[in-house]
């Protein structure tokens, strides 16, 4: 309540395109209409989803700033300007409830809310920035003249390495524990000495965002505990169905249980790889056939994809064994590699049924020397990419379009264009997941009637194991929602 009031007094500037940033420290003590509860949350989700898509396409920071401003304007304005702040806070806390419930949901929400916070902070006036820094009570202090002179040479080196203007004598630098600015450390964007990072004024957003992120991360864990211990049960007829439906609505399909094409048998793999695998998987597949080996990252990326495609565990074991045996021998395969395949299928270790990697995950992976995983559009040199696209049968015209997207770092769009070129068919939804690429391709290449036949047959199979069947239960969300 306290927060809400103080914020309200500050938002008397309706022209400010992005309203003042709250800290979201306490949930508001307000009465919220059930309808608003859901509508506000959906509006905020649209913003977060927009951010998520843009990040996946590799948008630049400048582009992101504009995008966030537009998204916010389009979705988060309340008819009454004075209610903007309330809508902001309410929607945030509703989504906390929605996205606190599993590790994956928390991770997604945390990174999107953090991104949103970052760009809203950057869009604010310098006065607002300073005020916010004070409120956060950040562990930093400006360095003295002498300290500046001592570190000057290094600070200049850092500035030059990023083509930034050299720091002038009146420049303000903050000295903070390096742990507080991980992203600046990761990018070598700061000078670090004896555990302290020297953060320039224009980099403080990083400090704020780190603080925000760590507060929210802790809060989500606590919310989850509260949710599982009390709220879920108490609200089972009122909020729980809304909360559960909200998280489903925007995350896209989960490809861990794609069984709609039934089993894929080993003998079909070569043919399918040629016709329906996205380039990342096709490359791994070809390399595996060629070298009879893949390093860990490659085994994970391809292995889980094949699982999502419908390769049963027994077949997966046989498939990998056949290849690896050429190189390491059957015995060593059984000893060193079979475990991790069973592990992927949830039959070993903590018995989690692992999900195939999404494009976002693959694009952000960091393949090293000797690795073949990752997203070819991002990780190949242009020359190698062109050669690979040629082998897939992408014509010269389409190839230019693809390469153009790659240059602008729109890796998923590049993949979508490849899909369209190879299948001579449009793909309006865009490619977000290798398994989606596969299933879309399969849909185009396979006559419809046949698919439904297989589906019926599979679902009706008596020997499908219990765990799998359980996950097929139809979602009852629609009925709840009414």
């Amino acid at each position: 309540m306290e927060i809400v009031r103080s914020q309200r007094s500050r938002t008397n500037t309706p022209n400010d395109s992005v309203s003042t940033l709250p800290l979201y420290r306490y949930a508001p003590q307000l009465e919220v209409r059930l309808e608003d509860f859901e509508v506000f949350a959906m509006d905020r989700l649209r913003v977060l989803k927009g951010i998520s898509d843009a990040l996946a396409r590799g948008k630049r920071p400048e582009e992101m700033e504009n995008l966030v401003r537009d998204l916010w304007k389009a979705n988060m304005r309340h008819p009454e300007a004075s209610e903007d702040v309330n809508k902001d806070i309410i929607s945030h806390f509703v989504l906390r409830l929605v996205y606190c419930r599993t590790e994956d949901l928390r991770k997604w929400f945390l990174s999107m809310e953090t991104a949103l916070y970052r760009y809203r902070f950057l869009l604010g006036s310098s006065e607002a920035k300073r005020a916010l820094m004070e409120e956060f009570d950040l562990p930093c202090k400006a360095i003295s003249r002498t300290e500046f002179e001592n570190a000057k040479e290094k600070l200049e080196q850092v500035a030059r390495s990023f083509d930034q203007p050299l720091p002038t004598a009146d420049a303000i630098f903050y000295k903070v524990p390096f742990e507080e600015v991980p992203e600046l450390v990761a990018g070598r964007r700061v000078y670090i000495h004896k555990g302290h990072a020297y953060v320039a004024m224009h980099q403080v957003v990083s400090l704020v965002v780190t603080q925000f992120r760590s507060n929210l991360s802790k809060a989500l864990i606590l919310t989850n505990r509260k949710w599982t211990s009390t709220i879920r049960e108490q609200e089972k007829d009122r909020l729980t169905p809304i909360v559960e439906a909200l998280s489903m609505s925007y995350l896209g399909p989960d490809y861990s249980q794609t069984k709609e094409f039934g089993e894929i048998s080993i003998k079909d793999l070569d043919q399918l790889a040629r016709s329906s695998f996205p380039l990342c998987m096709r490359h791994l597949f070809d390399k595996l056939r060629e070298d009879h080996h893949l390093k860990h990252g490659g085994r994970m990326q391809l292995g889980l994809f094949l699982k999502g495609v419908g390769l049963r565990m027994e077949d997966a074991l046989a498939f990998w064994k056949a290849e690896f045996s050429h190189k390491v021998g059957a015995e060593r395969f059984d000893k060193e590699y079979a475990y991790s395949i069973r592990h992927n299928y949830g039959k070993e270790g903590k018995r989690t049924d692992y999900t195939p990697y999404s494009c976002q995950k693959i694009i952000s992976s960091t393949p090293g020397v000797g690795d073949h995983h990752g997203c070819p559009y991002r990780h190949f040199s242009e020359e190698n990419l062109r050669a690979a696209l040629g082998r897939m049968g992408v014509g010269s015209r389409a190839m230019e379009d693809v390469v153009d997207k790659v240059r602008n770092r729109h890796y998923q769009l590049a993949c979508t264009l490849t899909f369209e070129a190879v299948h001579s068919s449009s793909c309006d939804a865009g490619i977000n997941h290798p398994n989606q690429y596969f299933s879309d391709s399969h849909k185009i290449l396979q006559p419809k009637s046949k698919i439904t036949n297989i589906q019926v047959q599979i679902v009706g199979q008596p020997h499908s194991d219990q765990a799998e069947m359980a996950k097929f239960r139809p979602s009852n969300l629609q009925t709840c929602k009414s």
Binding site: S161, G187, V369
Partner: protein, 439 residues
Amino acid sequence: MTKEESKNGSDDMLIDGPKQGNVIPDGFNPNYLKVYYGRLFPHADIFKWMSYGNDGRHPACDKSYFGRREFSFTLDNDIYLRFQSFNSESELENSIKEKCPSKIDIGPVYSVDPAKRHAYAQGGDNVFAPVERELIFDIDITDYDDVRYCCSGADVCLECWPLMTVAIKVIDTALRDDFGFDHILWVYSGRRGVHCWVCDGKARRLTNEQRGAIADYFRVYKVGNENSNKKVSFPGPLHPFLVRSYTEVLREFFEEKLLLSQNLFSTEERYEKILSMIPDESVTSELRGKWQENRRSSNSKEDINFFRWEQLKNTLQSGKQKVQGLRRCVEEIVFAFTYPRLDMEVSKHRNHLLKAPFCVHPKTGRVCIPIDPKDCEELDPTTVPTLSELLRELNTGDSRMDVDNGMLTQVTMSYCFPPFSTLSSSGIKYHCLLIQAVL
């Protein structure tokens, strides 16, 4: 063969010669491990180290600390036991002696005793999670296969091992000077690389994100896989950390050692690989032209690698090359060949396991001995003591090996770190390192 080995050989002759059956042949033998764990393995030191002062001797300590640490044992028959935990030094020691693991891995300290994690899991609350873990690095010579011509795979020799030495120097300096860590332990991994344990309290409490940031700070290899020619590419002038690494370590190593030891320019295939890192067609064809003629000109006395490298540098850094990017190519090439190649995933997560120091590598039989970063050039992986050598020394009854006389109790380590720091006083033969460490 070092002096030490031949000396041992003669000792064997003297003492074991007459009564056959006491000879210890080379190579790894699981039976030796029993003796090793029984009489040489520094259980007490490992316990003391892993307790970080929480050893129950003073009132403020956390008595549950050591017991929440995960140990993993790989047994002889490839059975893998995860989530072993011990409440005291004697529990640890007894279990190791009893199970006689061919490998011991050390994991994180968890929120609760890892052996009882299932009991806690019943609560449904995600309470079983890693809370502390040393910041670790794993560097493996196999990752350098594209820049070494002497060996490949798990093999190493004295020509390529210095790549590891360089890695230790670069990373160690940055950990101390940049990140301000003090308690750093380097360990030979027993075969083809080195491990690093950063043990400062601050380091142990780093989040995964912060670990990732440090790992990325150390990364210069471009995000890209086998399918990209240029492994290193600097968009602008270098960050101070890279400048220091380059001027203090890498440049000298490349020009004075690697260039010659790996014959980097001696054949067309090799120099083509370097030329492929230069993005300017006119420069590469100019150099290629000079090298293909292969004239044994007046400086035939000079080493061909050195000569060609000078030619390349002159061409790239001559006044003609206005493009800054081309001048940086020299640095990029040096980095591509010499900069440390870390296994990123190991460093990024709290829950990664890493082989304990003083394990014995099952293939080579060599002991994973600590390395003093100040003297890392001294480490010769081909003369690191092996299990059989150590046992031979035990049998000779060498005075240093007075095991019963409380070898394990006379620990000179300070409360936590640098552990084993006493072992690195210069001039000690590797054969003695382990024994020195615990005496």
